[in-house]
């Protein structure tokens, strides 16, 4: 029984990791209706930059601040340079372009910092507590709390602010948005910028757990996609809850379902995705229009 609860906690901890990337994916989808396969790799680049600044002797907080702002610019730049010129192109084209971003940023990190894994400066204490034999680590708890705040803030921005509404509108239909006086391109640009910053925050949160390496985000991509689907693609809180469910399902399933086992745990996010899509295609928190996408 202790093992069960331990695995539950472990699942939540890994779920928080999936949720962090899912959050960035959801943000960019919400703001531009694009699934950016290169999102994780852009975040990795930001994380490396932050690490490099720390290595050069800047205080951690300052370098995070600088890189957070730089990430925003990176997102804006990528949008202007690569996405905007093809905004009228078929979706497959955009998919391949984001795959190109994925390859590009991964190779860039590999070229600049090589493949060795590195220690990312941890923001949270490393200890933990034993509660009735179940170990709860401080860092996992902190990540969860930060993500919760982040998701709630994002949700509130989209729901209640003029800016959020305008971003959602631009993503929904650029033409209709132009007709109500929204500067659509600026909104899409902001969307990419914010998503890149959220991606960086995600990388900062999970960096110490996954270690810094050019491919650190690769294994969690599928899990993040599953989390976002489960939560409904347009809900930040949904992405968080989705991530946690995927994490727990994976942790428990890999251990207690003998025919799956730890070596086939990758089928769990797929199964979860499939079930939710067949039962409730909009995800747990999604709105109906996403289905038609």
């Amino acid at each position: 029984m202790v093992l069960f609860f331990q695995l539950l906690i472990d699942g939540l901890a890994s779920g928080a990791i999936y949720a962090s990337l899912a959050l960035a994916l959801v943000l960019i989808f919400r703001a531009t209706r694009i699934v950016n396969f290169g999102q994780g790799e852009m975040a990795t680049l930001s994380a490396y930059c932050a690490w490099q600044l720390c290595e050069w002797g800047l205080p951690v907080a300052l370098s995070f601040l600088i890189v957070g702002a730089a990430s925003f610019l990176l997102g804006v730049f990528v949008f202007r340079a690569v996405i905007k010129p093809v905004s009228k192109a078929p979706v497959e084209t955009i998919v391949v372009i984001t795959l190109g971003l994925f390859v590009f940023f991964q190779s860039l990190c590999l070229w600049l910092w090589r493949a060795d894994q590195r220690a990312f400066p941890a923001m949270f204490p490393s200890g933990g507590w034993d509660i009735l034999g179940v170990r709860v680590t401080a860092s996992a708890l902190c990540i969860l709390l930060v993500l919760l705040c982040l998701a709630a803030t994002m949700g509130a921005i989209f729901r209640f602010t003029r800016l959020g509404l305008a971003m959602r509108a631009s993503a929904y239909s650029s033409e209709k948005s132009l007709l109500v006086g929204i500067r659509v391109e600026r909104m899409l640009m902001l969307g990419w910028g914010f998503a890149a910053t959220i991606g960086f925050i995600a990388a900062v949160l999970v960096g110490p757990r996954l270690f810094l390496s050019p491919t650190m985000m690769l294994p969690i991509l599928l899990y993040a996609l599953a989390s976002a689907t489960l939560g409904g693609w347009d809900s930040p809180l949904g992405a968080l809850v989705g991530g946690l469910i995927v994490g727990v399902a994976e942790s428990l399933g890999a251990t207690f379902l003998p025919f799956i086992g730890a070596d086939l745990r990758v089928v769990i996010p797929i199964a979860v995705t499939l079930v939710i899509l067949l039962v409730r295609p909009v995800g747990l928190f999604g709105s109906s229009t996403v289905v038609k996408v």
């Binding site: 003029r162 509404l165 305008a166 959602r168 509108a169 929904y172 239909s173 033409e175 209709k176 948005s177 132009l178 007709l179 109500v180 006086g181 929204i182 500067r183 347009d234 709105s287 109906s288 229009t289 996403v290």
Partner: protein, 236 residues
């Protein structure tokens, strides 16, 4: 006084022009109808006026040359359009639609007042203010689209085929609203329609568009009696 002056307007998609030097004017405080068959270029005119399409020729709105203005700027200047297919945001709630309609308005108080005003005018929308607009009926959506456009306090409201897909009774209701907007609030309207019969009853002035050119123009009451128009559009 003309609120809108269009002279030698050319616009189209890609290399081919749909409009060939169209010229017309809209008088302040009037209802102007733009009639024409499918594909005559009516929607193209509206899109060019809103800045969604690149165009050549003079477009002057309230004394401002619109050619240098972005679509957003045109809305700020008081040009609103209800596009074909309503122009509401399906995954927004009714209230969010109204809020986004007022995107160019900076005064919170004014937004609140306007919202209440249109809720009073369209009680159906007030009842459904928290619902997703995608789930509304066609008539309700058209009302929402109208309210959404009015939230920006336009000087000229352009409306593309408001009757499309609506039951005749509801269409009539919409036109009644247009009339009262014009009459009570002094709003200028430019209505694009295929349903010439009904439109001409409400409009003051009308233009008939054929293959990218204006062929007939004049007071609506004259056009109602014009034989050519009767044959082509009124099914007489």
């Amino acid at each position: 006084m003309n609120i809108l002056t269009v002279r030698d307007l050319c616009a189209g998609y890609g290399a081919t022009d749909v409009l060939h030097k169209v010229s017309f004017t809209v008088e302040q405080g009037s209802i102007v109808a733009l009639l024409g068959a499918n594909g005559a270029g009516k929607t193209t005119i509206l899109r060019a006026l809103s800045g969604l399409l690149p165009s050549r020729g003079l477009v002057e709105f309230g004394g401002t040359d619109l050619r240098q203005c972005s679509p957003a700027r045109r809305v700020e200047l008081g040009l609103a359009q209800i596009p074909q297919g309503r122009g509401t945001f399906g995954d927004f709630t009714v209230e969010e639609n109204l809020a986004i309609g007022a995107y160019t308005i900076n005064s919170k108080r004014q937004i609140k007042e306007d919202m209440e005003r249109w809720y009073t005018a369209f009680p159906r929308l007030a009842e459904r203010r928290r619902q997703q607009s995608g789930n509304l009926s066609g008539g309700e959506q058209q009302m929402l689209a109208l309210a959404r456009a009015l939230m920006s306090r336009p000087k000229l409201l352009m409306c593309d085929e408001p009757s499309l897909g609506l039951a005749p009774a509801i269409t009539e209701q919409i036109f009644e609203i247009f009339k009262s907007l014009n009459h009570d609030h002094g709003m200028t309207l430019l209505v694009v329609e295929q349903n010439a019969d009904l439109t001409l009853q409400f409009a003051h002035t009308a233009y008939v568009l054929e293959a990218g050119d204006i062929t007939v123009s004049g007071p609506a009451s004259d056009l109602l009696r014009n034989e050519a128009v009767q044959q082509s559009y009124l099914g007489v």
